[in-house]
Symmetry: C2
Subunit: 597 residues, 2 copies
């Protein structure tokens, strides 16, 4: 596996030059997030990623987690690395100071999340889910619950999970069977089996706090009868001390295609003591706090996997000598030219690069929207931010993980046969990236969330703030000759985007299956135009610096990659548009007897 090198220059470009984080942070009251402070933190995070967790990524894959008698042992080095992670205070970064956090912005944590994921995705999932669990308790827990759970979760000496899925239900949580019966002391006895619980059991932390959805007997059926509970592995006193073992156990761990070093657990709750979070039967609403943050984290996995694979592939492409350039010998002293001279190798490399860097910009933007959703004081701006976040979260989650996975496949392809061999690490990146299209809501679920619930559900209103932002950008830059190759297509595609939306909406009135039939192509189309906007914005920054006389090759590369995106990635949307326009008739035509093999 190639050594992972944190793309610090590009992360700072996104934060500072593209998204002007200094003004953003000051406006939202993050006074501590000064440029110097950010630089120092990012540099330390880079060091941790490169030196502590990247080196155990491959060995973690090979060794995997082991289960014995209900206990899970993580691969060699993980416990020590996690201890360093805690000792350095990383879990506390963007938590509230009230609970021992550093009170730094969520968006800073998001960029660090990319580093962790790229360096060692299995490791980063342990960390990411803990963050989600504490965010849920912070948002919806009682004062006593916060005292019990928050300090240790924030500190990282305890970790957290998210227990939704059961054997018979994943997407369809309304079917869940785990029950929660009221104890005399006001706590609940949780009984049932949860599966696919990432980090449900491991040896990294002293305690594990499970955020569990369950049904209180007598509750309405379906999703309106779901409540949320905090269920600790070891019971916790009201002052937050560890007490006796709670009655829950890890029944087994899954053997998976990838992320071998992250334990995916079957958790059996047998009358385990749990604490109601939020109101009875309002569990799913509370869970959304968790899920939106988790979906942004998974978007980031798409970026991280694309970048890690790009790094490996680029290094190899510059090193591997094979064939001569069709346009003439480039390496006359060698037996052949480096494969980076071949246009198709460049096509794959630039596809990876444009996904990684474009995705990083989108994720950075989403993360700033999360900051605003927490801390914006102007109500109108806050609603705008929330609308943009609602629109773009499913796009980020599904589009970036689909493209991130594609990027890892290009990484394998650039290595030729060597890409298929474990030794090089390229195939691990591909296996590890495949999960991102599945968990926290599959691509299909994100596409329905986007098109049915959000866009058609709001009669298209939810698109307006973001489209207005794009149009304003285009208007402001339409007079610049060098920006025309970006502005013209954005205007055309965003027009087509709205027409496609209206067209699907009209068809859906007659036949609601048209929504599902269009949804994934629609989401992919949306992703290509959204990423085009961010590439255009990056091109603008690059052009501005070049015009001001900068000779930093970074800006040339950024500009040229933007052109590549518009030339070779954005036109893919044409295929999706054509598929959307043909509708769902042929998809629904086969009856059950015809659907056989």
């Amino acid at each position: 596996m190639p050594d992972y090198k944190t793309p610090l220059r590009d992360i700072k470009f996104v934060m500072q030059e593209l998204l002007n984080c200094e003004e953003h942070y000051q406006r939202l009251g993050y006074q501590d997030a000064t440029p110097d402070m950010l630089d120092a933190i990012l540099a330390e995070a880079a060091k941790f990623s490169e030196q502590v967790i990247a080196p155990i990524n491959k060995s973690g894959d090979q060794e995997g987690c082991t289960w014995k008698d209900g206990e899970v042992t993580t691969p060699s080095g993980f416990k020590g690395a996690y201890q360093q992670y805690v000792d350095a205070g990383w879990p506390t970064l963007s938590h509230n100071v009230e609970f021992g956090g550093q009170g730094l912005p969520h968006s800073l944590n998001t960029h660090i999340g990319e580093m962790l994921s790229a360096a060692n995705n299995s490791f980063s999932i342990y960390a990411g889910l803990s963050h989600g669990a504490s965010a849920t308790i912070e948002a919806h827990g009682t004062a006593v619950q916060k005292t019990m759970f928050m300090p240790k979760l924030v500190e990282g000496t305890w970790t957290g999970t998210m227990c939704l899925t059961e054997p018979h239900c994943g997407t369809d949580l309304g079917l869940l069977r785990t029950k929660a019966e009221l104890n005399e002391n006001g706590s609940y006895a949780i009984t049932g089996t949860k599966i696919f619980i990432s980090g449900g059991e491991h040896d990294l932390s002293e305690n594990i706090i499970h955020i569990v959805i369950a049904r209180i007997p007598g509750s309405p059926e379906g999703t309106r009868g779901i409540s949320l509970f905090a269920v600790p592995k070891f019971n916790v006193t009201e002052s937050g001390e560890i007490a006796d073992r709670n009655s829950l156990i890890c029944g087994s761990i899954e053997h998976k295609m990838g992320i071998h070093a992250n334990s995916t657990c079957v958790m059996n709750f047998d009358g385990a003591k749990g604490y109601l979070i939020g109101k009875v039967n309002k569990g799913l609403n509370c869970m959304f706090t968790f899920m939106n943050a988790a979906r942004l984290a998974v978007s980031n996995e798409g970026v991280a996997s694309a970048d890690a694979s790009f790094q490996g592939a680029l290094t190899y492409a510059k090193d591997r000598l094979q064939m001569r350039a069709i346009s003439g010998v480039k390496n006359p002293d060698g037996p052949a030219d480096a494969i980076i001279v071949h246009p198709d190798v460049r096509r794959m490399l630039l596809t990876q690069k444009s996904i990684a860097e474009g995705g990083r910009a989108l994720v950075g933007y989403l993360a700033q929207l999360v900051d605003s959703s927490y801390a914006e004081t102007d109500p109108e701006l806050k609603v705008q931010a929330e609308n943009k976040l609602a629109l773009l979260t499913p796009i980020g989650k599904a589009f970036l993980t689909e493209l991130g996975f594609e990027a890892t496949s290009h990484g394998v392809q650039i290595f030729g046969g060597h890409g298929f061999i474990q030794e090089w690490g390229m195939e691990q990146l591909m296996r590890d990236a495949r999960i991102s299209m599945l968990y926290e809501g599959t691509t299909g679920i994100q596409a329905l969330d986007l098109l049915a619930r959000k866009i058609l559900g709001s009669q298209g209103e939810i698109m307006k703030p973001f489209i207005s932002e794009m149009v304003t950008f285009c208007q402001q830059n339409s007079s610049l000759e060098a920006m025309k190759p970006f502005i013209t297509p954005i205007m055309e595609y965003s027009e087509e985007w709205q027409l496609l939306t209206q067209s699907v909406g009209k068809k859906a009135i007659k036949n609601p299956d048209e929504i599902g039939a269009a949804s994934v192509d629609y989401l992919m189309y949306s992703g290509y135009i959204v990423l085009a906007y961010f590439w255009a914005k990056m091109a603008k920054v690059a052009l501005t610096n070049i015009a001001a006389g900068s000779d930093d090759s970074f800006y040339q590369a950024k500009l040229k990659t933007a052109h590549f995106y518009f030339d070779r990635m954005l036109p893919r949307a044409k295929g999706h548009a054509a598929c959307i326009n043909t509708g769902g008739k042929s998809m629904m035509a086969l009856n059950e007897e015809e659907f056989v093999f």
Copy 2:
């Protein structure tokens, strides 16, 4: 892993109803290939695939091959299964009767190859490569060599390999270093290291005959100095008996993403005795015999993996209850509807189905062309068949393996989180399918072979017989109302295909990099239109049967799947056309300093 069920009905549909194999076989003199005989053979092959090798596919993946002191042990059950394979006479099927073969057509063997690959791809690779080795000796070997090697290879008690790749060269064989020095007795001493040798060492057969490319000292540099040799693991007397051990050894085996049960070997030749096949320095020409057959076999892997994944996914989609259909409850007695009611699940299933069945038709057609290239006596028809085969082989190899891999990913996706778990077998199909885009020439290499060498190299002449066949079909069916949804797009896309070809050709005159920049998109575009033609032909057969009063739901399913292909698969070509049209400028713009991370 779902039980594999051989798609006998569809294989017979392709052979008999679509491609009229009865007439084809009679014309080429395959008198034994009567319908009854074909039925009996296909039924036996299905039984072998389903009952002998499918059951050891998952265990083979988990156990893998093991290497010790130069010897490789295949996973439990493989040795026994291979023995059954030999005992039943499967290796002999399409071999010349002169060497103990049954003299049946190559195309029959190809359809059986699909079954073997779908049931257990690792197993089928051992068998497939042996066939390639014997075909090479049969085509280019001397009478003595044929006596030495053919009977046992045909019988299957010996197996064969193809030793091309070396650590520093895969695609660029001109760089090879393995040397062949003339011995006094006329044999050669082969010295060098070959890697990625599938089946280079194993415990299935008594002997292994390696077909090795090497350089005779004093030969010209590059590909014009490559000769071909047969190098047995155990030396062989002139009468074909096993003698002492030859000086070659398996140095290690690779740990790979997939096909764990197929040994991928590093082979060290240390003055091993080898026999020149064909003429000195003409090794690559002889090797093409092997490679074309191998590329067709790999195309078949795309079909096989798509079908196996479709079978698993369809079974799950009918069984798994999750959410209600958006168009209204379909399973009122159950807690939810089967996920096959959801349009997006159907989109994925029909994508798999249209790849598997469309690919099967294309592979069947290619296999008949191979029959014709061997046995056609009319010189004009023979040239036509060879031209079509040359045009369509790289398309079949690259397009079908890319789409086959995509299909396996849909299979994982339909299973949701369960798709990522090894237990279900869906992720194994995906890992096993990934190799097909790499070996026997990557997708990029196939794309260059198609566009640069064959199409532009012939000024487009090579396209003419196939396009003429398509146009004739369209003309013959243009008056049928029910065929219009197929005929109109084929005419449009095939027109665009030719325009794209001319446009790339023109750009390439000014800048040869435009060929490589367009090549993969061009190949994918070509694949979509070629498969459209086969789907149109299948629709025609279905319509004819329906018009004649058939109430077989098979024809309805075929017709509806054809509509799906034209509605939702063919339009993807629009995205590829748009990418081709933007050219390669942005791809080549980054200089080396700008290509960094």
